[in-house]
Symmetry: C2
Subunit: 112 residues, 2 copies
């Protein structure tokens, strides 16, 4: 068995950005997530609310664990009672379908 | 023994903001930290760099632990290879001397 870290499909230089029609469809599947743009790069993000800092940090760690599993990493903003998760694909400077799959996994982790 | 969560001295409504003279002195003691302002609220922040996501998240957890200990919480932005720590005192909408003490503790954690 190889012990190489699996490469993330969304992080390949030839990975395809989600096209506008699919973007709309995918966004409708994660209604709590909003589309944003930073320096021309499209991203999706959601704020998750918690009762205290410890629960927020626990969620950050859970999302960190799925990120490590897939080797695709979000930005995680942890504060007292809140975690903002933002997904995008650095290499293609935009959104890959994996970003939406990861958003769905975040929903599953939060609702578990 | 009381099991009440200790209140953070910087989070009392009558806590004092650091005055401009002290601000300059305190900033010089944490030269890696920069002063910033969001919506009129002064904050201090530093980007810490790491070799991967796991090490970044580990640092986030270490800073989270000292935050819980003091019951004063920063904003922690965790990404692949980077953690941005930002301290300020929400209640007084600015910087308390405790924010600088916490910045120093972050330095100690990072350099340990």
């Amino acid at each position: 068995m190889s012990d190489t870290i699996p490469s993330c499909e969304a992080c390949r230089p030839d990975a395809e950005k989600v096209d506008p029609a699919k973007l709309e469809k995918y966004l409708s599947q994660v209604p709590e997530w909003r589309l944003e743009e930073r320096n021309g790069v499209q991203m999706i993000s959601r704020d998750y609310k918690f009762k205290n800092f410890a629960l927020a940090l626990e969620f950050t760690n859970k999302v960190g664990a799925i990120a490590e599993e897939i080797n695709h990493h979000p930005e995680l903003v942890t504060e007292w009672g809140k975690v903002r998760v933002t997904w995008w694909s650095h290499t293609i400077k935009g959104l890959h379908e994996l970003d939406f799959a990861m958003a769905k996994r975040c929903e599953a982790v939060f609702n578990a």
